[in-house]
């Protein structure tokens, strides 16, 4: 019965997410772990996000200029770049880069903990392995991904400004003014942060669920890593459509 099996695994994932939320108690140990995880999955992801953002900004600017020039509206390039970034590109691409950079490492770490019986050992010492190993990673992702999205946007807009003003030759004042007029603080900027918090939480939950329940073998760890990246990326893309349909689909 594939349907029943699928429903059961969905239920297991839901119960796992619930237990992560319930295990998140603000103790001193939790904050120490949280700081470590923010460093590992947040601060260490900065370079890839920065470089990725810059190149996305450059290519979107080129693409948009080509399309807008047809209608003599190349002045509006920053509106296109800004709205496209805040509404769709920055949250999704940051989340995908984050999945590849940090989701895989979360799954591998937890899978290895499972394979070397560390999770069982924590349980034997009456330490909740979810509270010790999973909850800090989840909250670190929820905190870090919006911040990384901010970095992504800054670098992308800076790169776009460079391309548009210094290479294509659009007026710098026009660039910033059009951008400011087009991007709404609440409906574009905050939405980008909300979206990326959801994506960060999703990525961390999927990665830790897959790693936590990995086969306790070397192969199981590698399978868990692959599945974490594949499942988390697909979920991020699907959630993005659902969120966009609800937020912008009027």
């Amino acid at each position: 019965m594939p349907f029943i099996a699928a429903t059961r695994s969905l239920g297991r994932a839901g119960l796992f997410s619930l237990s992560v939320l319930r295990a998140s108690t603000p103790t001193r140990d939790f904050f120490a772990e949280l700081v470590r995880e923010i460093y590992k999955i947040g601060a260490r992801s900065l370079p890839i996000i920065a470089v990725g953002g810059a190149f996305v900004g450059l290519s979107v600017t080129l693409l948009g200029y080509r399309a807008l020039e047809t209608y003599g509206a190349s002045n509006q390039i920053s509106a296109l770049v800004g709205l496209g970034l805040y509404r769709e590109l920055a949250p999704v691409l940051t989340a995908l880069l984050f999945v590849g950079r940090a989701g895989s490492s979360i799954a591998a770490e937890l899978g290895l903990m499972r394979a070397t019986d560390q999770i069982t050992a924590l349980g034997l010492m009456a330490i909740d392995p979810i509270a010790k190993a999973v909850a800090p990673r989840f909250w670190a992702a929820v905190i870090c991904v919006p911040l990384l999205t901010g970095f992504f946007c800054s670098l992308a807009i800076t790169a776009s400004w460079f391309e548009a003003v210094h290479v294509i030759g659009i007026d710098g004042g026009t660039f910033w003014q059009v951008l400011k007029d087009a991007v709404d603080f609440r409906h574009d900027f905050l939405v980008a942060l909300e979206k990326s918090a959801v994506f960060g939480g999703t990525a961390a939950l999927v990665a830790s669920y897959v790693g936590f329940h990995a086969e306790p073998t070397v192969e199981g760890t590698s399978i868990a890593t692959t599945r974490a990246v594949v499942n988390a990326s697909l979920l991020v893309l699907m959630f993005n459509f659902v969120l966009s349909a609800f937020l912008f689909g009027k």
């Binding site: 460093y39 946007c153 603080f185």
Partner: protein, 185 residues
């Protein structure tokens, strides 16, 4: 780990500071800055027979300077007028009662906005009051059509299929991009 503790915390702190600073700069430099902390605006109403392409959150300007935006658009169920609610910045409280409002378009095909023309009355509009003098949106295509088909043409060709030329005495041929189709004598 105990050796790396303080340095780790410093690294995380630096990351968080940098990230928050970058968010702040982004919010200030790249958004319209409507942070929504308290409503420093007051409402005014205006009725229009035709809104054209006007949508909510379109700007309201006096002399090209933005002083507010369109907060809401409703259709009066009795008079079938469009009732537009404007949210005007609190700094511009003393708009005279004989201020007039018009729906204008930036550029040839640009976005619609509401242009206010302050009058000379000494009394000011109170919050929630209605602007009495309004000009509806100008439909450019209709105007071009009237100009094209309304001017008394000399050649009455029977190719006016569905063009609004019933009330006009005679109609000139519609403009076509290829001059070869025009019946030049």
């Amino acid at each position: 780990m105990s050796v790396r503790g303080p340095r780790l915390e410093f690294a995380v702190g630096a990351f968080l500071l940098l990230a928050l600073a970058s968010l702040l700069v982004l919010a200030l430099a790249s958004t319209n800055g409507k942070f929504g902390f308290g409503a420093h605006t007051y409402p005014l109403k205006a009725r229009f027979t035709n809104l054209g392409q006007l949508r909510t959150s379109a700007p309201v300007k006096i002399g090209g300077v933005v002083i507010g935006n369109v907060a809401d658009i409703q259709l009066d169920p009795v008079k079938f007028d469009a009732v537009v609610t404007l949210a005007i910045d609190d700094r511009y409280k003393d708009l005279p009662t004989d201020t007039s409002a018009g729906i204008l378009t930036g550029g040839l095909l640009g976005e619609s906005y509401i242009g206010l023309q302050p009058g000379g009355d000494e009394q000011a509009l109170k919050p929630g009051e209605e602007i009495a003098f309004t000009t509806p949106a100008v439909d450019l295509i209709q105007m071009v059509g009237k100009y094209m088909f309304g001017g008394g043409g000399k050649t009455a060709t029977p190719d006016a299929s569905g063009t609004p030329s019933t009330s006009m005495p005679s109609s000139s041929p519609p403009p076509t991009s290829t001059p070869s189709t025009e019946p030049t004598p």
